[in-house]
C-alpha cells in the first residue's frame, strides 16, 4: 500500500498559538490553540460572539498574526512571515469566503473571479479561464458573468465570492459565516456548494458558523470558549444549545 504524503501532511497546524491585543489593558483573545486540519477535511468552528472565532480564522488565513506559538500552513512555519510573504501564502494556498461577499463593485462577476489569478500570476491563460468558467457554470452563474455585483442577488454574489475563493485552486478555504447574510434557501445553496467543492477537489474547509445545522454537517466541530479551543461531538453541541435556550 502507498500513502499519499500530502494527505498525511496537515494543511494547517497550530502549536500553542495565542493572540493578545495590546493596549491600555491587554486582552488575551486566544490561548494555547493546538489545531490541525488535514487536506479534504471540513471543520466547523462554533462559539459565542466575542469568543475569538473570527480572530482565529484571520490568523489561520494569514490576515492577522499570532502573538505566541507556531502556525504552519502546508508545512511552512509562517509565524515570522512579513506582510508580502503572508500575502503570497494567501494568494497561493488560501481562499476566503466572508459573511458579506466583498466583491469589487467596479468589476464584473468574471473579472472578480479571475482577480486572484491575475494577482498571483500577473495574467490569465486559457487554462485558467476554462477552469474558472467551469466553476462559474457549477455554481449556476454563467448567465451573470458580465454583470456587476450591484445587479446580482445576494445569493449570486456569495456564489461568485465562493468561485473567487476557489479560483487559484487553494489548499484551504476559510469561510466566516458564509451564509450569515443570506436567506435560508440561498444559504443552503452556498453551503451545499462549499461541501461539494470540498468533496470533489479535496480542498480543506474551515467554517465559522452560528448555525448548528450547518456545523453538524462538518467532519469535525471545534468549539471556542473564552479563547480556548476544544473538539465537541454533535450531541454535545445539541446539549449545549438546549442548555443555552433554557438559560435564555
Amino acid at each position: 500500500m502507498t500513502l499519499d504524503y500530502d494527505i498525511l501532511k496537515p494543511i494547517v497546524e497550530t502549536i500553542r498559538m495565542g493572540k493578545t491585543y495590546f493596549g491600555k489593558v491587554d486582552v488575551d483573545v486566544l490561548h494555547d490553540i493546538d489545531f490541525v486540519v488535514h487536506p479534504g477535511e471540513f471543520v466547523a468552528i462554533v462559539g459565542q460572539s466575542g469568543s475569538g472565532k473570527s480572530t482565529l480564522l484571520n490568523i489561520l488565513g494569514c490576515l492577522d498574526t499570532a502573538t505566541s506559538g507556531v502556525l504552519r500552513i502546508d508545512g511552512d512555519d509562517v509565524s515570522d512571515y512579513v506582510d508580502d510573504q503572508l500575502a503570497r501564502v494567501r494568494g497561493d494556498k488560501i481562499g476566503f469566503v466572508f459573511q458579506y461577499h466583498y466583491l469589487i463593485d467596479e468589476l464584473t462577476c468574471l473579472e472578480n473571479v479571475l482577480l486572484p489569478v491575475i494577482i498571483r500570476r500577473g495574467g490569465v491563460d486559457a487554462v485558467d479561464r476554462a477552469r474558472v468558467l467551469s466553476l462559474i457554470d457549477r455554481v449556476g452563474l454563467t448567465e451573470q458573468i458580465h454583470q456587476t455585483p450591484d445587479t446580482m442577488s445576494g445569493g449570486q454574489n456569495q456564489r461568485c465570492a465562493l468561485v473567487r475563493a476557489l479560483a487559484n485552486e487553494p489548499r484551504l478555504i476559510l469561510a466566516d459565516e458564509p451564509t450569515g447574510n443570506l436567506d435560508s434557501r440561498s444559504g443552503q445553496e452556498v453551503f451545499n456548494l462549499l461541501g461539494q467543492m470540498n468533496r470533489e477537489t479535496g480542498v480543506a474547509v474551515v467554517m465559522v458558523t452560528h448555525d448548528e445545522r450547518l456545523a453538524s454537517a462538518a467532519d469535525r466541530i471545534m468549539l471556542i470558549e473564552d479563547g480556548h479551543m476544544q473538539r465537541i461531538e454533535e450531541s454535545d453541541m445539541q446539549a449545549r444549545s438546549t442548555m443555552a435556550v433554557r438559560r435564555g
Partner: protein, 411 residues
C-alpha cells in the same frame, strides 16, 4: 486580461464620476495657472527684452578716447615745464577706418549674428522756417536692420532699399515739422555740410524723446566727414546674455572702446532676472497648491476604498500591487488633467492675445493689451511638472492604501 492594477485604476476613475472630474479639474487648473501666468510674465519680459534688443545693439564698438599723458612720460627731451593737472583732451572725432575688416572679424566670433558699421552724429533738420536738432544714424539699411529691427517699427514707407538721397525720420520729427512721405527736408551737420533728402519712411518706436533720422551709409559719411570710416560698429548677438562675453572677445582683439548693453544698463539685467524668478515662483506655488488638492482627494478615495483594498490584500495582493493601483490612478488623473489644462491654458492665452491697446496716434503701432509669450517648451514643462507633482502628491495616499490592515476593514 493581464495585470489588474491599471484596469482597477481605470475602473475607479470611471466609477468616481464627479469626484474624478473634480480631481482632473484640480490638475487642469494648476496647469492653466502655470501656462497663463508664466506666459504673461514671460510675455512682459519678452516685450522688455524685445525693446532692448530691437533698438539697442548688444555690443557697441567705438574708437577709444585718447587718455592724456603727462609730458614727463612722453620722453620728449627738453620739456622742463609740465603741468601736474592732467585733463582729458577735448573730444576729437575718431573713426574706425578699417570697418570692413573689423566687422568681418567680429562676425566670426561665436554668438555674433551681425555687425553693422554706422556713422552717427548730430544735425539739424530744416523744413520751411523750422529747424529741429536730430540724432542721425547712417548705415547700410539691410545690415543695421539685422542689428536693430527698425522695419518692425516702420509705420509708413520703406527703410530697406533706402536710396542715397532718402531719409527715414521718426514720427515725432515728422509731426513737429509737419512733413510726410515724399516731402524733402534739409539736413545740416555740425560741420556745416547740408544736403536735401526725401522722406522715404516714418518710424515709430514709441521710445524716442526727440528727433531721429536714418540715412544710408555713404551720405552720412559725407555729412559728418568721416571719409571712408565708420564712427561705430553695432553688434547683434544670438542671446541677450552673451553680450558680455562677445564684448570681452572684441576687447581682446582690438584696441577699441567696447560696451555691452548689460554693462551699460545693469538694472535691466536685474529686472529681467526678477521676471524669471516671479514666473518660476508663481508656477511652483500653483503646482504645489494643486498637488495638495489632489493628495486630499486621493486620501478620501483611499478611505472610501478601504474595504476594497482589504479584500484585495485578503486575496493575495501585495503592498507593491496596491501602491501601483493608486499610482496608476493618479497618473491617469495627471495625464488627463495636464492635457485638459494645457488645451484650456493655451486657448485662454490665445484669446487674450486678441485684445490690443489702441495706437497712440493715427497710423501708429498697436501693442497687445496682455503681452504673452507662449511656447511649446512652456506648455511641455507645465504638463510634465503637473504630472510629476500629481504623482508625488499621490505617493502618501497610495502608501496609506498599501498599508491598510485587511483585518481592520473586513469585519
Amino acid at each position: 486580461m493581464r495585470g489588474f492594477e491599471l484596469m482597477l485604476a481605470m475602473r475607479h476613475l470611471r466609477s468616481g464620476g464627479w469626484q474624478t472630474f473634480l480631481t482632473i479639474s484640480a490638475v487642469a487648473s494648476g496647469v492653466i495657472v502655470v501656462i497663463f501666468i508664466s506666459s504673461l510674465i514671460f510675455g512682459v519680459r519678452a516685450h522688455i527684452s524685445d525693446l532692448l534688443t530691437d533698438m539697442l545693439p548688444a555690443v557697441t564698438v567705438s574708437p577709444a578716447e585718447l587718455k592724456p599723458t603727462p609730458l614727463a612720460q612722453t620722453g620728449v627731451v627738453g620739456y622742463g615745464l609740465s603741468s601736474s593737472k592732467i585733463e582729458l583732451q577735448n573730444p576729437q572725432q575718431k573713426n574706425i577706418d578699417d570697418w570692413r575688416g573689423v566687422a568681418a572679424q567680429i562676425e566670426r566670433i561665436p554668438g555674433v549674428v551681425q555687425a553693422a558699421p554706422v556713422v552717427m552724429g548730430q544735425a539739424l533738420v530744416a523744413r520751411g522756417g523750422k529747424q529741429i536738432g536730430v540724432n542721425v544714424t547712417g548705415a547700410v539699411p539691410e545690415r543695421l536692420n539685422r542689428v536693430q529691427r527698425l522695419t518692425k517699427y516702420v509705420i509708413a514707407g520703406h527703410y530697406l532699399g533706402l536710396a542715397s538721397n532718402e531719409v527715414m525720420i521718426n514720427y515725432k520729427l515728422s509731426d513737429d515739422l509737419s512733413v510726410g512721405l515724399g516731402d524733402r527736408v534739409l539736413i545740416i551737420s555740425g560741420r556745416g555740410v547740408s544736403e536735401w533728402f526725401k522722406i522715404a519712411a516714418i518710424i515709430d518706436t514709441g521710445e524716442d524723446p526727440g528727433g531721429v533720422a536714418y540715412l544710408d551709409f555713404r551720405p552720412a559719411q559725407n555729412l559728418f566727414g568721416t571719409g571712408t570710416g565708420a564712427s561705430q560698429i553695432l553688434v547683434k548677438c544670438d542671446n541677450l546674455y552673451h553680450a558680455d562675453a562677445v564684448a570681452d572677445r572684441i576687447s581682446a582683439i582690438y584696441p577699441y572702446k567696447v560696451d555691452s548693453w548689460s554693462r551699460l544698463f545693469p538694472q535691466f539685467v536685474a529686472s529681467l532676472s526678477a521676471y524669471d524668478a516671479v514666473a518660476y515662483l508663481v508656477s511652483a506655488f500653483s503646482l504645489v497648491a494643486s498637488g495638495f488638492a489632489i493628495a486630499s482627494v486621493l486620501i478620501v478615495s483611499v478611505v472610501q476604498k478601504g474595504k476594497q483594498i482589504g479584500i484585495l490584500k485578503g486575496i493575495g495582493a501585495r503592498r507593491g500591487q496596491i501602491l501601483k493601483v493608486f499610482l496608476f490612478e493618479s497618473l491617469c488623473i495627471a495625464v488627463a488633467g495636464a492635457a485638459l489644462g494645457s488645451v484650456a491654458g493655451c486657448t485662454l492665452v490665445r484669446f487674450l492675445d486678441r485684445f490690443q491697446q489702441p495706437p497712440t496716434h493715427p497710423g501708429g503701432r498697436t501693442e497687445n493689451l496682455f503681452p504673452s509669450h507662449l511656447t511649446w517648451d512652456l506648455v511641455t514643462i507645465a504638463m510634465l511638472a503637473a504630472i510629476i507633482t500629481t504623482v508625488i502628491a499621490a505617493v502618501l495616499p497610495a502608501r496609506r492604501a498599501a498599508g491598510v490592515n485587511p483585518v481592520e476593514v473586513i469585519r
